[in-house]
Symmetry: C4
Subunit: 323 residues, 4 copies
């Protein structure tokens, strides 16, 4: 069943979305990344390993480090073993397994440059390999240092978006609303938001996706410390003008949100994107306030768990909805 909207939307669609008619599926994923897969080009050139390492979870990142550490030591242990344990002092030569265990530990003591010296290279080949293993170890930790720093110094907005958007009553009309709030101890200022929408329309019986800019009541705020409710009033200039609850349900709609703010700790602009598709839009609802004064009236409390809390609300009836 085609889910394109049937009527003509009066507003002119914009062409600078970066997506064209051949694109399909959700445009922007919930996490803000575009829903695009790449092929072609050598696979090694298609990925920035630095971007990849930065996108790993902490657990994944540490696991990879530990696994790499074990593999490297196994590799060098094998080399020392092949060179011969007689080129190393202090090896337990009771049986081959103990020999291999000892060269493995010698390798790790070299790679980390701990170098106790209980086991130490005496022959030329073992010394040469150890020379390069220690060098490799230091370079590896140099890279790890850079990756750790890159990971935790990466400027991020740390914004939590409401999971849902609502169509709420607003100034004798209705408005599309969703909200966001900073959830970490960062300090954001000079925030602005750009909201656009992709609507699938039927033109000459062919479904086609049009993009529209959505005007918001307040597109810039000075301090982003409390929650920020983004309000797009559905008036004559809105592409949603005249949409009924069924229209919102039965049309392929995607609301694309792009928030930009200045983080005072990073002294850098941070951005975060998200999107809402038709099934994430609740028609006839309004958000419940999520901040309130503290008991002594001395500061304000922001309750992040309430970000999705809403209650039903009757919308004014439009003549246009009956079209």
């Amino acid at each position: 069943m085609a889910r394109g909207f049937r009527q003509k939307i009066h507003q002119k669609n914009t062409e600078n979305s970066g997506f064209g008619d051949n694109a399909s599926g959700r445009f922007i994923n919930k996490d803000g990344l575009p829903n695009v897969n790449r092929k072609g080009v050598n696979i090694f050139n298609r990925f920035s390993w630095y971007h990849t390492m930065l996108d790993l979870s902490t657990f994944q990142f540490l696991s990879y480090l530990v696994i790499a550490y074990i593999l490297v030591n196994l590799f060098f242990a094998l080399i020392y073993y092949l060179i011969g344990v007689e080129h190393l002092t202090g090896i337990d030569k009771s049986d081959p397994i103990n020999e291999f265990i000892d060269v493995f530990f010698f390798s790790s003591q070299t790679f980390t440059t701990v170098g106790y010296g209980r086991i130490a290279p005496v022959g030329f080949m073992a010394s040469l390999v150890a020379t390069f293993e220690a060098f490799l170890g230091l370079l590896t930790f140099a890279i790890a240092t850079g990756l750790f720093y890159g990971r935790f110094s990466r400027p991020r907005a740390y914004l939590k978006f409401s999971d849902i958007a609502v169509i709420a009553p607003f100034k004798e009309s209705s408005a599309l609303m969703f909200r966001l709030a900073p959830f970490k101890n960062n300090a954001l200022t000079d925030a602005d938001v750009v909201v656009s929408t992709a609507i699938e329309v039927i033109e000459d019986s062919v479904p086609k996706t049009n993009f529209y800019q959505l005007k918001t009541q307040l597109s810039k705020i000075n301090t982003l410390a409390l929650n920020w409710t983004i309000v797009h009033k559905i008036d004559e200039e809105s592409p949603f003008y005249g949409f009924s609850g069924d229209d919102f349900k039965n049309t392929n709609i995607e609301i694309i949100v792009h928030v930009r703010a200045f983080d005072e700790v990073f002294s850098n602009t941070v951005v975060q994107r998200s999107s809402y598709v038709s099934k994430e839009i609740i028609y006839g609802a309004k958000f419940i306030p999520m901040y309130y004064p503290d008991k002594e009236n001395l500061s304000t409390i922001l309750d992040l768990d309430k970000i999705n809390d809403y209650q039903n609300a009757d919308l004014p009836v439009f003549a246009e909805e009956q079209l």
Copy 2:
């Protein structure tokens, strides 16, 4: 006692402060951070540990590092002790305490990768733990390297604000003035300032906070090397037009300041915020200059200790003050 202002202010209030009617207490603390507490969300998700580490004082940061170092070594010492001191060479086995002391030092020599080798692992388990302790040690110092760099490379404006603002005579009228000066050897250019105010007004007997933008005489300067006195003239367009000294004292007022400049060392934009509440505003005073030519008239001296120096000054009397 409610401290809201009684009359109507003619200027239209702005809505982009990011604070709403439910907020209470000072909005921006003296140090520039918003006066908001967060709750909800898992506590681990509510803090960016990197932001937290960057906000610690140097003393706190170093203390935490030393404490972590001791704890890690106690932890590993315990493991080695449980594995058994017979898996380590060179241990002083005269009594259990000496044994523990020696495994503690073995742990520290492993964690720092100093690895003298006087004490060295011989058994499988001790070697295995040491292998991972040395690895952990290097990763820890990789993280410490990143944190040190993050801490001292963090772009900051290093601006000192005057503790007080004054209402001073200015061009046959009066003006709200405060001043700021760079106090470190950084080089700031292209500075601009945005000043706004929150005033509690009584509307229909209900106290309500309105936000107003305050126009300043000079909102941009090229070089921020001397002190900068920010001047908001109190004329018909000012929300303070007609305020008497008592009005300033008895109304809940907050002046919110946001300074932005370009630091040529960091090649980055730096920002700093501060605020003044009613009790920090002195009515009928003017600042004493804080810079002067040096003896040889070859350069200029900025005396930072004078930043709060002011003298009393009579203000012109307004008819409006008698309302």
Copy 3:
């Protein structure tokens, strides 16, 4: 044979290219760097070694590190050898070559701070040199850490440009088109493009290069996730108005492209430049689409190998071409 265009171009040329009449050859190389050589100034001052190290390929960079490591150890081995092997314990004194080999490995064990201790300094001079070698080693790896981080954290756009530009039919007229696409897993938003052209014209029988800004149909897009085809319509305002295929072939033309976008991982603006000269412009061709929906219609696939694919296309005939 002079390749300057003969007629007068109606559009006013721009003067802010940064290149003047004395410049010659291609202005911007294919990789985006200006085609300028510098002389004068001390050679050490003419290069930023940091920029140089960042521009090396990974292979070159690692090779230089390894070579430097070997040279440093040879240098210190020579010093220890000259001081005398009797100042080191554990040296194999069977013959001078073995002695040198052992001091070389001692040097590497000191430089990497692995310090097994099988060979260790006992005399004053050897200890002193080792003291500084270990210090130098740590500083070297500190620098290497910085270089690694600088190399892989360097913000780059990772854009692939089509090798060729085409003159394609466009809205009953023709247009200069080329395209670009992000080829790595980075996330670019807020992209904009500036296109200019350098055309060699004959003024009073003297060849002279004029620069013109080229208007594009869409100079900004929100999300740069798919390919972006830049379209410059050749209308009355275009400097190419009335150019025939031969004119494109026989005139010295250079199209200079400058793309800027915001990378959400780096939270930084990234730029990339490229250029097209006459022989890289195909007259009468159009690009074949390079992205399409995936099988389930759930996302979009971008095939980077198709970026240069085009087919021939007839252009409308202009009266002006016959001039």
Copy 4:
């Protein structure tokens, strides 16, 4: 002898220089830093040690590191010596000097974590101190790593300004000109320049410094690869309109230059400032071109040694100069 200009300049002076009437001497030093000294505030708070470390020359920076390394080792050597050499194994106890030398080297082997183990701690106190020295050593090198990176990754414009400015003939009138060129292998784009001037004028017999913005013919260029000659035409709108050669010589004038560009390697905006005072302005001269095509006409050569080359040039005579 007062060197203020006597006549009224018609242009309105600007007030956003950041310098006021009490400032004296040159405002901006030749290296671009403001000519201001600070006093007051605790000396430790008046300096950002990070900014200080970044401003040191490479030689100074390395010297400080070496000196700090020696002092730290002397300090720890003294502690080990006071604890007693019997708490260390392998010490040469032939005489106190040899003892001290050996504990000094033990200290350095601990601080750098090389830890050969020929000398190793055995007693509790010596082990404890060594535990902290190794920890301190690693933290020190963590800091050094950050400083090295901070130093060489610091975004800088690497622009060379001509030492002198000239008053040259320009379009039937005259113009103030100076030039600048990038002297390293960095790639600058989107450059812009802001030029202002401070002129000492006599108002009511009192010398007073006024600031004026100077309009330039071309204030933005796309690519800053060749030299850029900044041209301020001296027409009716210029504060220098009607200045004779003697006026330039006898008036306290300072030209303040502020260049900003985008460095594609750092992906960052870089700025550089400089200034010209009266004695650095040559009246009646013009610059000699400093770039030319290479032999094969395939690229352009920029000769940085010619940046100050000029030849005398007659200026048109103004009626106003005779005032």
